[in-house]
């Protein structure tokens, strides 16, 4: 099985009539995703890519029974688009838009509290259930259906690691880009919960990097609730150039949970197998599964 999306997923694209929206909605349709509607305020009524376009998310849901959104709306209106999806009670919103102001995301997170929506992103490459459903902008050529769940903070590394997995005969149940922004929707912990509950997923790969607290939260969750399936993690950025320092003690407290070594140590403590390098993730997972089978 898959997580977040499946063969019953009916996708509406917010911002489909723009340049990026058109291109990626087309790719998604080509991939076989059931794209049922586009939403662009003021452009309702005129079909685009042979898909009906509506003025609002609510209208699109009423007419097409859409149950997921892919958001391509530019930064200026991205937060409003996300909040519109949340208020329309869409179960899933995947946000590709990059460079959303951080205070706008605080507003979106306020709207998410107690809502029925799972938000993925922003600045996410999307969610891919290989051969079933693509919501987003990721490369799809090397992905294959199978039993590895992938949750990632980096689009480029996801493509790379998916290729490694497929190369070793390990297809993917679902790949999820949680996005590269500080304030975002679902995190590693949520993905782990979903992958652990999914019978098709046999192992999980986490693709992390320096900064933020996603890796720490995942480690804490795994330490408390236990590893229900093998988990391999990569933390990129051990040798990153020191970022220009933001401020003083504030940066210190933020940096306390941020460097690659500390993140790897915490994940390892929680039972996660750390891939020694980005080129070894596929091999590490393959060895781990073989060892468990033996």
């Amino acid at each position: 099985m898959t997580i977040l999306v499946d063969q019953n997923t009916r996708v509406l694209c917010q911002g489909m009539t723009g340049w990026a929206g058109t291109y990626h909605a087309y790719r998604m349709i080509q991939y076989g995703t059931n794209v049922v509607a586009g939403v662009t305020p003021g452009k309702g009524g005129k079909p685009h890519l042979d898909v009906p376009v509506f003025n609002s998310v609510k209208e699109a849901i009423a007419e097409t029974k859409a149950n997921a959104s892919c958001v391509f709306v530019p930064p200026v209106h991205a937060a409003s688009a996300m909040i519109e999806a949340i208020e329309a009670e869409l179960p899933l919103a995947v946000v590709v838009t990059e460079r959303v102001p951080v205070l706008d995301m605080v507003r979106v997170r306020d709207a998410l509290r107690g809502s029925k929506t799972r938000l993925v992103g922003p600045n996410s490459q999307g969610v891919l259930a290989p051969e079933i459903c693509q919501i987003g902008v990721m490369a799809t050529d090397r992905s294959k259906r199978g039993g590895i769940g992938v949750a990632s903070r980096s689009a480029s590394l996801t493509s790379e690691i998916v290729a490694q997995l497929t190369g070793r005969g390990l297809g993917q149940s679902t790949t999820v880009g949680i996005g590269g922004d500080a304030v975002h929707g679902i995190g590693f912990k949520d993905c782990l919960e979903l992958f652990f509950a999914d019978p098709e997923t046999q192992g999980v790969v986490l693709i992390g990097e320096i900064g933020g607290t996603e890796e720490e939260s995942a480690a804490e969750y795994l330490r408390k609730s236990g590893l229900k399936k093998p988990v391999v993690a990569l933390v990129a950025g051990k040798y990153a150039p020191p970022a220009r320092r933001m401020g003083h003690a504030g940066t210190l407290t933020m940096q306390a949970s941020g460097n690659a070594d500390a993140k790897m140590a915490k994940l390892k403590d929680a039972g996660v197998v750390i891939a020694a390098s980005a080129h070894l993730v596929g091999e590490t997972m393959s060895d781990l599964l073989a060892k468990r089978a033996a």
Partner: protein
């Protein structure tokens, strides 16, 4: 976007947060004039985008205009090195001349985003200066979580003040300062406002002796007025040029030029080069929005670096940016710069076949590798003179 102290203080003044009377000077004469105008003892403060200035000689007290002139003369045009600037230091182009304030009590006060809780967090500490060392030594900072409308989400402002040793009328004024900071934070789209130290003067009024504001670059479209506050002359010009061409670029000290699309892949490439014993010359993340001419500009910056002995290209072509777009940019950059350098390429993904054909036409010494670790080790061997 980082704002200089004097600009941060001007903005905060608009929100009712007081600073000592001050003037900006770009020459020693102006500094002396400002000191005379202000009267009494003043501080001469170098305006650079880095902290720890006081301990590094960037903030000095002057008892007279003559002394202010002397200090400004030393500072202006010099390179100030602080623990936060790196060994090269930052050029001092402006000094702020400020009336000395007799501080009765000082605290550290900062406001930023708590990403995990998606809330605004206020941090406070007893005693302002030297807070970095005390925090590193495990000293605890007090915190308070606020929502977008200023509502308290965790912690209590009265308790926050008390824990900072601020009580009575001063606690009321500190509460007002926190509220004003919050308003500034929201209206300016800040990602950090830091007042260090905030002191209470003889009248019990809070005064910001030093202030720092970082604005959210992603929100500058809402603030055309604030975008104009950027000092283009003080940003690394190479990195700025890369930014203008949709490329995140950071200079490093090594001899292996790095061309990568994607931040995560970029970080992983640096990790592999270091693990293989090499030293990267730069970090590069070509954004998916970059076109081949942008990419040519970015790669040109790598070729401009005389230390670079070899170029490692690690590209995964995705849906938005196929391999051939990047290779086209690479070809244009080499043609423009006329430099001959060995290339190690690992190019895979969308349109890799077209990219391969194009690489053949460059006439440069090259190694094509299907695996990024092989490519990294090869680049290191070339940089170390063990391979060609």
């Amino acid at each position: 976007m980082d704002l200089h102290e004097f600009k941060a203080k001007r903005l905060l003044a608009g929100y009712g947060i007081m600073s000592p009377d001050g003037r900006v000077a770009v020459t020693a004469d102006e500094a002396a004039g400002a000191a005379k105008e202000l009267g009494g003892a003043v501080y001469v403060k170098a305006q650079i985008h880095a902290g720890d200035r006081a301990m590094s000689g960037g903030v000095k007290k002057a008892e007279s205009p003559v002394e202010a002139r002397k200090i400004a003369h030393q500072l202006l045009g010099s390179k100030l090195v602080t623990p936060q600037t790196g060994p090269a230091g930052h050029a001092v182009k402006r000094v702020l001349i400020e009336s000395a304030v007799r501080a009765q009590k000082e605290i550290y006060l900062a406001m930023m985003i708590d990403a995990l809780d998606a809330a605004i967090v206020v941090l406070g500490g007893k005693g302002g200066s030297g807070i970095e060392d005390r925090a590193a030594g495990g000293a605890k900072l007090e915190s308070l979580h606020l929502g977008l409308k200023g509502e308290q989400k965790a912690g209590d402002i009265a308790d926050f003040c008390k824990r900072l040793g601020v009580t009575g009328a001063e606690a009321e004024k500190l509460t007002a300062t926190v509220n004003n900071m919050h308003r500034a934070f929201i209206e300016l789209d800040a990602s950090l406002i830091e007042i260090n130290p905030l002191v209470f003067n003889e009248k019990g009024e809070p005064v910001a002796l030093d202030a720092k504001i970082v604005l959210d670059d992603n929100a500058l479209f809402r603030h055309p007025d604030l975008a104009g506050l950027r000092e283009e002359d003080e940003i690394d010009e190479v990195e700025l040029k890369a930014q203008q061409h949709q490329i995140n670029f950071m200079r490093m000290d090594g001899d292996i030029g790095v061309v990568v699309n994607g931040a995560g892949l970029g970080l992983a490439t640096l990790d592999m080069l270091r693990a293989a014993g090499g030293e990267p010359a730069n970090f590069m993340d070509i954004r998916t929005t970059a076109k081949s001419l942008d990419i040519a500009q970015g790669i040109g910056l790598v070729l401009d670096n005389p230390k670079v002995k070899v170029i490692l290209v690690n590209v995964y072509g995705g849906g938005m940016q196929p391999c051939d777009t990047i290779i086209e940019g690479l070809g244009i950059a080499f043609r423009r710069k006329g430099r001959v350098l060995p290339l190690v390429l690992r190019v895979t993904g969308n349109n890799e076949d077209i990219a391969r054909v194009r690489i053949e036409s460059f006439g440069l010494p090259k190694t094509l590798s299907p695996d990024m670790w092989q490519a990294a080790t090869r680049a290191v061997a070339i940089a170390q003179g063990k391979a060609r």
